[in-house]
């Protein structure tokens, strides 16, 4: 069953390669995403009931537990939303002559490969293979970032590949050191095997392991967009097509964060406390939130603003993992889900806005609520949600993280954390809310007639908005169970 997760994208890729007509391309992309999500739902059920899923064939590399299952669910849900949204988005781009029609096929093939590499990263238990898959995500999405092939997109793609590849090379050095720390302890069959490393964590060499953690944090932190290694992120997110931005932000960053979380669990288990990893993670997390706050306050491009907001939220997750108490881990994992849903909703609605107004500049846009009634409303509510206003779900997880910080009696960390969150809120309010007021200019109104463009995509937006709103007040039992199991895996209580 689990192998279908890896097989379906490959079949889809072959079908996309063979089938030329546009309609069939759309159909293959959406139906493969639906199938993947159905399989993931069944697997989630099994993981909750029986714990980890592992197969003995193929060297026992396939491995899914609650932690990877949770992130995999996010990947596939956002993947489906992006696939449905892409139909209308691409048709509109072709109609506006921004993309030649044959490029749709290339787009879908790259997108399916991108999803495949992310599934691979989450379903292997060998840290080396995980590294390979995470590097492959960069390579698969490089052309998606540079898809428009103009000066800006090429610059973003070049920076993206160079910075992320070098960062991830540093992570490989960390993984080699992780391997070194286990020399003489693990059998050759279980080299770099996460479960074996975790089980024998107490006997690994602490000093090498600490060095390994620093390299892995810097390396995967680059990919997760943590400051000061975040410089590729705003460029890549603002230049990529909107459904891809949604996937980069909502999905890719989580996959990199997953690598950090796995390593943190080993190192903390080895050290017997979280003070070493905690200090590093909290420092880098606070730095990310602060960097994002500064750039959000002075931002003129709304897609870049959303990208900086992603850096902020990755920082929040890093702080939550750094605190390392049951409450903070729960909050951090929940925040991953909440951030992904909210941020992809925002990027998708930003895609609609961009197609309507044909600009990314905030000051050129007025009266969204009139021209785009549904997308505009979703965007407005999404901004409130991402800034952490109740009743939306981001508030719930940010609240539990803040509570966890204060429970840990790290008063200063908590105060700085809250102050920065307030600054981000103010930044979003000051810069973005002017897009909603005012009348659309008469000339613009002639060009941009009122009404939605991407009907199917807009339905996705409404579904996401419903999930984001309901998630703030009610957490389904399955999700709660999955998060609690994942929390147990990280803390080592299962």
């Amino acid at each position: 069953m689990g192998f279908l997760l890896l097989v379906i994208p490959i079949i889809a890729l072959l079908l996309l390669f063979i089938l030329k007509p546009k309609r069939l391309q759309h159909l293959v992309s959406v139906s493969s995403a639906v199938l993947l999500l159905i399989i993931a739902a069944i697997l989630t059920h099994n993981v909750i009931l029986y714990g980890a899923i592992a197969y003995s064939w193929l060297g026992g590399f396939f491995y899914l537990d609650a932690l990877s299952m949770m992130i995999l669910d996010i990947v596939l849900t956002i993947g489906l939303m992006a696939a449905i949204f892409s139909i209308g988005y691409l048709e509109e781009e072709v109609r506006q002559d921004k993309l030649p029609a044959p490029k749709i096929r290339l787009y879908y093939m790259l997108m399916v490969t991108f999803i495949f590499t992310m599934i691979l990263a989450l379903t292997v238990k060998n840290m080396g293979l995980m590294w390979i898959a995470i590097e492959a995500t960069t390579l698969a999405s490089a052309f998606l970032v540079g898809f428009y092939n103009n000066r800006y997109a090429l610059e973003a793609a070049w920076k993206y590949v160079i910075i992320c590849s070098v960062g991830i090379a540093v992570a490989l050095l960390g993984i080699i050191l992780l391997h070194l720390s286990s020399a003489g302890i693990l059998e050759s069959g279980s080299f770099l095997d996460w479960t074996a490393l975790y089980a024998n964590a107490a006997s690994l060499k602490s000093s090498v392991l600490r060095l390994a953690f620093i390299f892995i944090l810097v390396g995967f932190g680059t990919k997760a967009g943590l400051a000061p290694m975040h410089t590729w992120l705003p460029d890549a997110h603002s230049q990529a097509p909107s459904p891809i931005s949604a996937m980069l932000s909502g999905v890719l960053l989580n996959s990199a964060m997953y690598g950090i979380i796995r390593t943190t669990a080993i190192v903390n288990h080895n050290q017997g406390s979280s003070s070493f990893t905690g200090r590093l993670l909290i420092a880098i997390g606070i730095l990310s939130i602060a960097t994002a706050a500064i750039f959000i306050l002075t931002q003129k491009d709304y897609k870049r603003l959303l990208a900086y907001s992603s850096i902020e939220h990755m920082g929040i997750i890093a702080v939550a993992i750094g605190i390392f108490t049951p409450l903070s881990i729960f909050g951090g994992l929940l925040h991953m889900i909440n951030h992904s849903l909210t941020k992809s909703m925002l990027f998708l609605s930003a895609g609609n806005i961009m197609q309507k107004y044909d600009t990314k500049q905030i000051f050129k846009i007025k009266g969204i609520l009139k021209t785009l009634p549904v997308s505009g409303t979703v965007f407005l509510l999404g901004l409130f949600a991402i800034a952490g206003t109740p009743p939306f779900n981001v508030f719930a997880s940010e609240f539990s993280i803040t509570a966890a910080i204060f429970n840990q009696s790290s008063l200063w960390v908590g105060m700085v954390f809250i102050l920065l969150l307030a600054a981000v809120f103010a930044g979003i309010a000051v810069t973005l809310f002017k897009m909603f007021y005012g009348e659309p200019d008469s000339t613009e109104a002639a060009a941009a007639k009122t009404g939605e463009i991407n009907i199917l995509g807009t339905i996705c937006l409404v579904i996401l908005l419903a999930a984001v709103t309901v998630g703030g007040v009610y957490l389904p039992e399955t999700v709660r169970e999955l998060i609690i199991q994942a929390q147990g895996i990280i803390l080592g209580t299962i």
Partner: protein, 219 residues
């Protein structure tokens, strides 16, 4: 005997990255990279023969053949073709002058010596000096990327980092699991192909492969 040989090889690999740093022309970068890859293939060959005789393992020898095919023949050939088609008027390419760059590289070696000397347990398996040499290759590769402006220089810097990582893994831990090595090769080839294509496109759009021109996105 073979202990001495791998000691010598690790010093030679370090030396080849110094040679790379002292190069002024893009075409000589590719030559230096090829020489370094040959040395790495030799080191892998020595280790492969030893592990075949001692434990009957074939995987390191297969990796050695892969290194020869990919890093000595295929990738340098690909880079040469890319270089031939985007040839820029001035092919000299460096920011600081060469003696300063080489001095900084010496500093990097000393830096990695002191980082690793303070870590106990890093001398597990092989002698500590080989680990210092190979980790220095990684930092020199990184520094090479910073010190060169042309797109091709940056690609080669990344390949040198990858070489350094490979040699670190081999010397420190007797090689990664075979499947991991294989995956890393696949990633590496894809990286070179993608970067080659991006270099073409940047050359088309900007009429040069100078990465200093990639500065339009800010803030």
């Amino acid at each position: 005997m073979s202990e001495n040989l791998s000691e010598t090889l690790s010093v030679l690999i370090l030396l080849s990255s110094f040679v790379l740093m002292a190069n002024k022309r893009i075409s000589s970068y590719i030559k230096s990279f090829r020489i370094q890859s040959m040395l790495i293939a030799l080191a892998a060959g020595v280790m492969g023969v030893r592990s075949l005789l001692d434990e009957g393992r074939w995987d390191i020898l297969i990796v050695c053949i892969l290194i020869v095919v990919l890093k000595v023949i295929y990738i340098p050939g690909l880079l040469n073709r890319t270089y031939a088609s985007v040839r820029y008027r001035v092919e000299k390419d460096f920011i600081l002058n060469i003696p300063i760059l080489v001095l900084v590289c010496c500093g990097l070696v000393v830096f990695s010596y002191f980082t690793l000397a303070s870590i106990d347990g890093s001398s597990q398996g092989m002698s500590n000096m080989q680990l210092v040499n190979s980790i220095s290759v990684i930092w020199i590769g990184l520094f090479f990327m910073i010190s060169r402006k042309k797109a091709l220089g940056q690609i080669i810097g990344f390949l040198v980092i990858e070489n350094g990582l490979y040699i670190t893994a081999m010397l420190a831990t007797q090689g990664m699991p075979f499947i991991v090595d294989l995956g890393i090769f696949i990633d590496l080839v894809t990286f070179v192909l993608i970067m080659g294509m991006l270099t073409f496109r940047i050359n088309d759009q900007f009429d040069s492969i100078d990465t200093d021109q990639l500065n339009n996105l800010k803030g």
